[in-house]
Symmetry: C2
Subunit: 263 residues, 2 copies
């Protein structure tokens, strides 16, 4: 009887990412998530960084069961990170509650405006739009050889807290972890999204057929002079947690723009 209750009350944790199902970051996140309960992995079959909230509507997508994480049900998907969450919810777990969606651990920062471009965060946001508690994790290290030990330790603490206390009002957390050894991480800062911009340029070249091409390159620059934001927290070796959401309304601008109603 106890076993039965435990099973019914067990948590279903959906794990996804945007770096693809064989990235070290998702392996690290699965190792953390599986400590808590049942895990399902649905992740892209190829790297999808910078996919933002893209969804596939003009052509079909495919799912393939893969044996990547021992003892864990895992599927690779030909679509985007957001497609992975939609497929998990509507096909693989149809009718079953998802208690938590975790996305990542991303290889590279999703602090500041990077949340907008991030497939990792968009996958988590997609789950949050469905009322599912969701967390995106990112480590500030692009390398596939990155040390995930600090990230895993903090992901474990945060997942445990969220499973325990839930996210009653804000369904989405953007968690970024500094790229330093675990014992140099100073703790957690709950803060706002910092202001910054990408100073970009396009590398121009000529392809083998003689056609000109452009390839995006750039550097992130912080504009934020305050201390209560994610960029500042990370700079000081704190893990940043930004409660995030999908309502893009700028409320203070509504009265300022009411004059448009008289056009």
């Amino acid at each position: 009887m106890l076993l039965c209750i435990t099973e019914e009350q067990g948590n279903m944790i959906l794990v996804t990412n945007d770096d693809g199902i064989i990235a070290p970051g998702i392996k690290a996140l699965v190792e953390v998530a599986r400590q808590f309960d049942e895990v399902l992995v649905v992740a892209p079959d190829s790297p999808q960084s910078g996919q933002g909230h893209a969804i596939t509507i003009n052509h079909p997508i495919k799912l393939r069961k893969v044996n990547v994480f021992e003892g864990i049900d895992a599927y690779e998907c030909t679509g985007t990170p957001v497609d992975c969450v939609k497929l998990a919810k509507n096909v693989l777990l149809k009718g079953r509650q998802i208690d938590l969606c975790v996305s990542g651990i991303n290889h590279g920062s999703n602090a500041s405006i990077n949340i907008i471009y991030s497939g990792t965060m968009s996958a988590a946001m997609e789950a949050s739009l469905e009322g599912i508690d969701s967390i995106g994790f990112s480590l500030l290290d692009y390398s596939f050889e990155a040390d995930f030990s600090g990230a895993k330790a903090y992901a474990s603490k945060i997942i445990r807290a969220v499973l325990d206390k839930k996210l009653p009002h804000c369904k989405l957390l953007n968690v970024n972890i500094p790229s330093v050894p675990a014992d140099e991480i100073q703790g957690i800062r709950v803060c706002r999204q910092g202001e910054g911009t990408w100073v970009e340029e396009f590398q121009e070249g000529t392809d083998p057929r003689g056609e000109k091409y452009y390839w995006l390159t750039g550097k992130f620059v912080s504009h934020d002079q305050t201390e209560d934001n994610d960029i500042a927290a990370l700079k000081n070796n704190y893990v940043s947690v930004v409660p995030s959401g999908h309502d893009l309304t700028r409320y203070p601008a509504i009265p300022e723009l009411k004059y448009l109603e008289n056009l």
Copy 2:
């Protein structure tokens, strides 16, 4: 001398979309924008609905000058809507000020949470991230045979007002236009983003090679019982204008989540 001053003070309006450069909606928007001053069009060479804020980082993209709009410089791009804005700013108009970016007129609604998935709105948001006043326009009609007369009339009024008064604080407007004859539009409502969700399912099928596929389909359902939101405005045949932005922080949740700092 007067001519010279006029030229120096002339506005540069960047026009883009996500339905592709030959969609009727962008033609309607170019016809409106060219009334005001110089126009540059950079738009995808194929439909890119649902691309969200996707950018192309893993491969190069191409630009091709096309003669689609008589007397207007226009380029088609192999990338996403956001790529189009980045290329316009960093390559085609490098060093020149863009006074306004208009995106659309989208074929279909971008009200409520559709702003998150929309390539049209993401292109406009990309420009707003660069401090450029930006407006995304959408008509609630998916058809390529849609009647754009009402949409053009209101786009013209709103563009004139924004060029005149600028958008000093909020750099991004999400404008949706009901799909009714121009004389049935009741006016403009400046409001917030409504709450809603997509009730989705995947059409399952088998491809010619015997592999199972999934194709996204769904229906938008409003959850919002209030009247001050874009869905309600559109239902009452008003044009909705939602001042929007890129800061996804849920500020009221910061104190609620401070307990995470003690983990």
